[in-house]
């Protein structure tokens, strides 16, 4: 199936064309970037249909058959992640058209953005462990550069910190791949899985698991490894913050952990309990640190840590309902966190500050930004009809069902704290009296409004993903994770076909 290669080829080609034409033709960057992200969105929606018919699809890159050559694998989980990533990235590029006018070189921005997108789509679609590392590095390097895009003192500092910690993580991941290769003499994910299941349990596999967990937990910013995130995410331009918090940490961290823990190594219950504990700590620490912040974007960044904690917690419990809740929350978080970061970008665009203490009463001047911010905040803090409520409810029910009563109580309490700091954001930024100095501010341009409204609407209706009509989309992703070791058989069967 050639269509599988498009997910990587389109953004890479887009990056190349934009860097070639961007300097000469003024608006070519805007047009090319939006065209490529839009076509990626269409292709990823098409992938849902492909997965529905064929279950698993394999494409051999360059015609070399899989265990020897590199292959790309599209299954339920990949398709789910592709839809999430490309939906957010399309709306973010739409938003960037006006927002990035503040910066000098838009063409370079779009080039780096497309490279990051190519890396992320590559990680999702690849079926080869070393190939995953290469795509991970493409996405990471592009994001280091994008964090430093404004080249102000704080941005450079954040980017340096992020780059150093990120490179250490990458070295650890490469070390893990090297050890796994020496044990199984193959790099294909399905092949590794089949070799491992033929060998007796060994301590080396657990060692590799720990190394991978450390590396990917740094990329996902789980709590003992989170130091870079609260600096890097607020320092980037708003569209990039939305991409980093919305999808990058999920693809580089959560997706990779899922794939390795569930499908490749098929980890033991003890290993999954580590995930539960890490998730729980991230949840609590992230929420408490978020309350104290006065910078809007910094508050959202800590909130990301806390919400990623929910996702990892749910995946660590590992029952079908919990995995469903975790992936559902992953989608919801991608949508509402990008809404919130784009809202904060709109505030910064109109008011030129991100300090909550200097704001107030903005909803009278910026009505649309106010409404989308409200929708995002309500969804993330779990107000009933919105998406975030349903996913948190499923996670908490799953924790109760698995017998983790204390953990479920903690999850409920953290949700209350989440509500508290989003109320703080709402009351400081949008309600109250308007400052004299802010009387002249205007609502943001059309494309920015359009993308914020779309994201806000998706926030409002994303709860529908758990009704029977749309459930197969999520359920196919859940069944891939639940099938565990059977992943290799599915891939090999698809190869023969």
């Amino acid at each position: 199936m050639t269509v599988l290669s498009f997910y990587v080829v389109i953004p890479l080609g887009g990056a190349f064309l934009i860097s070639l034409l961007g300097k000469r033709i003024k608006s070519s960057g805007d047009i090319l970037a939006n065209l490529s992200t839009f076509s990626l969105l269409v292709f990823s929606l098409y992938s849902i249909k492909l997965v529905f018919i064929n279950k698993v699809l394999v494409y051999n890159v360059g015609g070399w058959v899989a265990p020897i050559g590199i292959c790309m694998v599209l299954d339920g989980l990949s398709s789910f992640m592709l839809v999430t990533v490309n939906l957010v990235s399309f709306l973010v590029t739409l938003y960037s058209i006006s927002y990035m006018e503040r910066y000098t070189d838009k063409a370079k921005f779009y080039t780096l953005f497309m490279l990051m997108l190519a890396g992320m789509n590559g990680i999702i679609i690849t079926g080869d462990l070393f190939n995953l590392f290469v795509f991970l590095e493409i996405a990471s390097i592009a994001s280091y550069a994008l964090v430093a895009f404004g080249t102000e003192a704080e941005e450079l500092e954040a980017s340096f910190k992020y780059a150093v910690i990120g490179s250490v993580a990458s070295s650890l991941i490469l070390l893990g791949i090297a050890i796994l290769y020496s044990y199984t003499s193959t790099l294909n994910m399905a092949d590794i899985s089949s070799v491992l299941s033929g060998k007796p349990q060994s301590i080396l596999v657990n060692f590799v698991l720990v190394i991978f967990l450390t590396g990917f937990a740094i990329k996902a910013a789980l709590v003992p490894f989170h130091a870079w995130l609260p600096d890097a995410h607020p320092s980037a331009p708003a569209p990039i913050s939305a991409m980093l918090s919305g999808v990058l940490i999920k693809v580089l961290g959560v997706y990779a952990i899922c794939r390795i823990f569930f499908n490749i190594i098929a980890a033991s219950h003890k290993a999954f309990f580590i995930l539960v504990v890490l998730g729980l700590i991230s949840m609590i620490v992230g929420a408490f640190l978020a309350i104290a912040q006065n910078d809007i974007k910094r508050m959202f960044a800590y909130s990301s840590i806390s919400q990623i904690g929910y996702i990892i917690f749910a995946l660590g419990i590992g029952t079908p309902l919990a995995i469903f809740g975790g992936l559902f929350h992953l989608f919801n978080h991608a949508v509402f966190k990008s809404t919130l970061f784009l809202t904060s970008g709109a505030i910064e665009y109109s008011v030129n500050t991100r300090d909550l203490r200097k704001l107030g009463g903005l909803s009278s001047r910026l009505p649309i930004t106010g409404y989308t911010g409200l929708l995002g905040s309500m969804s993330i803090s779990g107000i009933p009809p919105l998406g975030g409520f349903w996913s948190k409810l499923v996670i908490i029910f799953a924790a109760l069902q698995a017998g983790h009563f204390i953990f479920a109580t903690i999850a409920v309490l953290v949700s209350v704290i989440t509500l508290a700091y989003y109320l703080k954001f709402q009351s400081y930024a949008f309600f109250g009296k308007l400052d004299e100095a802010l009387i002249k501010i205007k609502e943001v341009p059309l494309t920015m409004r359009l993308s914020m409204i779309t994201l806000g609407l998706i926030c409002a209706i994303s709860g529908l993903l758990c009704v029977p009509a749309f459930k197969p989309f999520l359920q196919s992703a859940v069944s891939v994770l639940l099938s565990g070791n059977a992943y290799k058989d599915a891939v090999f069967n698809a190869l023969i076909r």
Partner: protein, 112 residues
């Protein structure tokens, strides 16, 4: 076995350098050392005593050959390492322009 232990020592030197040094340039060098230690480990995995490069040629049989895949992978990883180093060095130069120092403890405007 000795070479693996030395490889681990090299990795630890790199990690120590990243964690403990205050000068930005030394931190970058530490990152490089870590990367090389991992690359060295990867090549060692595929090495065989007295092995030759597995090049397929007419009327030549190579019976004792090293594993070529790690070598190819390490080449890729070296190129990636170059890209990261180039980017971080560029950021370090800009940081020096803004703060006038390479001391990491004095570069701390971000708090909270």
């Amino acid at each position: 076995m000795t070479e693996y232990i030395l490889c681990l020592a090299l990795f630890c030197i790199g990690l120590y350098c990243v964690l403990r040094k205050r000068n930005i340039i030394k931190i970058i060098i530490g990152l490089g050392i870590m990367e090389y230690a991992v690359n060295l480990f990867f090549v060692l995995v595929g090495y065989k005593t007295g092995g030759r490069a597995p090049i397929l040629a007419k009327d030549q049989v190579v019976s004792n050959m090293v594993d070529p895949i790690p070598q190819a992978l390490v080449l890729t990883s070296i190129v990636i390492g170059l890209a990261v180093t180039a980017l971080i060095v560029a950021i370090a130069i800009r940081l020096f322009e803004r703060y006038g120092t390479f001391d990491i403890t004095k570069i701390r405007r971000l708090k909270g």
